[in-house]
Symmetry: C2
Subunit: 378 residues, 2 copies
Amino acid sequence: MSASIASLDTPVAIVDVSRMQRNIQRMQQRMDTLGVRLRPHIKTSKCLPVIKAQIAAGASGVTVSTLKEAEHCFAEGISDVFYAVAIAPGKLAQALTLRRKGCRLSVLTDSVIGAQAIVSFGQQNDERFEVWIEIDCDGHRSGLTVEDNAIIDVARVLSEGGMQLRGVMTHAGSSYELDNLEALQILAEQERFLCVSAAERIREAGLVCPEVSIGSTPTALSALSLKDVTEVRAGVYVFFDLVMHNIGVCQTDELALSVLTTVIGHQKDKGWIITDAGWMAMSRDRGTQRQRQDFGYGQVCTEDGDWIEGALVTGANQEHGIITLGAAESANIVARFPIGSRLRILPNHACATGAQFPDYHACDAEGVVHTWSRLHGW
Amino acid sequence: MSASIASLDTPVAIVDVSRMQRNIQRMQQRMDTLGVRLRPHIKTSKCLPVIKAQIAAGASGVTVSTLKEAEHCFAEGISDVFYAVAIAPGKLAQALTLRRKGCRLSVLTDSVIGAQAIVSFGQQNDERFEVWIEIDCDGHRSGLTVEDNAIIDVARVLSEGGMQLRGVMTHAGSSYELDNLEALQILAEQERFLCVSAAERIREAGLVCPEVSIGSTPTALSALSLKDVTEVRAGVYVFFDLVMHNIGVCQTDELALSVLTTVIGHQKDKGWIITDAGWMAMSRDRGTQRQRQDFGYGQVCTEDGDWIEGALVTGANQEHGIITLGAAESANIVARFPIGSRLRILPNHACATGAQFPDYHACDAEGVVHTWSRLHGW
């Protein structure tokens, strides 16, 4: 189905295809220059045309956050899939089914108990799973620290149990808390150094550890060196968003995802414009709340995408958004933004906002809009 | 499809059908006693078996937040549908199509301009739309205040333009900010009194205004009198949630929606249990953040649903939840909540959490689980 933006009912999620393609090129070229493979995290888009554009630009395989994403990618011919969430033992049967069909699905663990579950299931089913060990490089979530001897224990359990240790991986999720290049460069080097060091510890113990996989969009775009890293995982760079803008890794004209909305009313005395994009459209993500600029539930732009300075979605109910303008601008809102007029909202967090929609409406350079479906659920 | 909870992969949204039925009975009986019709807001569940249970218990028609919900209900034989968001002029053609098929769809406006758009479109298409006027009873969002003469202007535009004024409606959304019965009773009476007064103003101007529709779950469960009100709209009562629990309108054993999750790891030194229910499962809703008890991203229960005191989802990434326990409890988490064990999470906001899932898994009194699909998107 193709259409124009003017013909779309609201709210809809619009992807600016030209911006998306530039974002894909930017990251791929950076990884090419730094001499590492790029394995995009598709949890941001969950959308096949986006993933295919990443593969076409040079990505080697994909990273997924659910086995449903893995199944979807494999069904479309993408075979090298890394499920980058420590696998629950109950999901091993589903992983096995995918591998038996020919998918090179690799899985993740960060504990001896998790490794033992993989070994036990693998041995019972005569399957040599490919397994990554998760390293904690910044204390923000999962993984083993490089000093923890459990790294060697996990590697040994997997290796002696007949599984294939694919490598070590880490994700510097704390990069989302930074907002200057120097701090990002330091964290990127910490992410690289600690993950490479973990691989070296395993190798020094006499075990094989072929790969070192690191990444987050902010560190991937800031790293000065990726020496001894084999691949980078990053996701949100494909669309970028206001959180990334606050971190400082993208410009406003690189934000490729927005929500088209219609004005449905006003509260003139309060300076409120009411729209049909509430939290069901924007998501409840308030990722910019503690950053250097709080964008509420999103930055308001004209229908054509021009940033309206000071105009933010400052309140959201399920199907109502409340937009307020800067104090100097709030006069005459009824005439300036009449009922039925349309606006575009840039989201805090592209992964969360995209997930609210069954599909994207992708607008190409000629203004033609294509409907791109996306995955929902597990 | 039927199954047992033990057979479900995680994360899944579980509906306790017995609790849901009790919640439906409780609200319906209260409305019956107060002598008003109940028009449930189906934006909470967006799920046909839930809606059918509400109708079976005595509800008269439904309230919807999107025209997609209206189409879905009408296709299933539910004809009296109130689309309770001020209608954008661009959606009138879709509303007309529904009415032409025989759906008694009514729409909403809160402005002269909005009313003129309805009149203009209605006259062009020879359709006498049924229209409600939105009243602002507490300043929280949309609507005209009872003192505003625009109420009469809107009613006159509709009436003289040949549309049918169905009535006035309001929603005391600020009830979500309260937490004691006396304050809720006062707000409920304010909601009732102001909406009834708006109807009287219109009638005194010589215009017909048959209905007075009010409601929110907290005020509906607190009102002492609903004199001169014709119908109540409420939604979240069907499942309740932690926000409603903090407001004080439900007990813990009335919470009918939970998310089943699996433990996938630990950070022992920090007392963290890592699960596979991140914000993609729970939503980013932090509705209890400014209430009397902040439940983080949810209250943790055993797999059977028993509340684990002090155990909260305190952090969430896309597919990772971080659970922390009270200080006294955090020893021995690895043995107590081993990898692969399962927990149930009660959500802050049932409407937002439900929306993350393509379907509910409804567990009946016999422990049999049925898959109930739900609507996604617009």
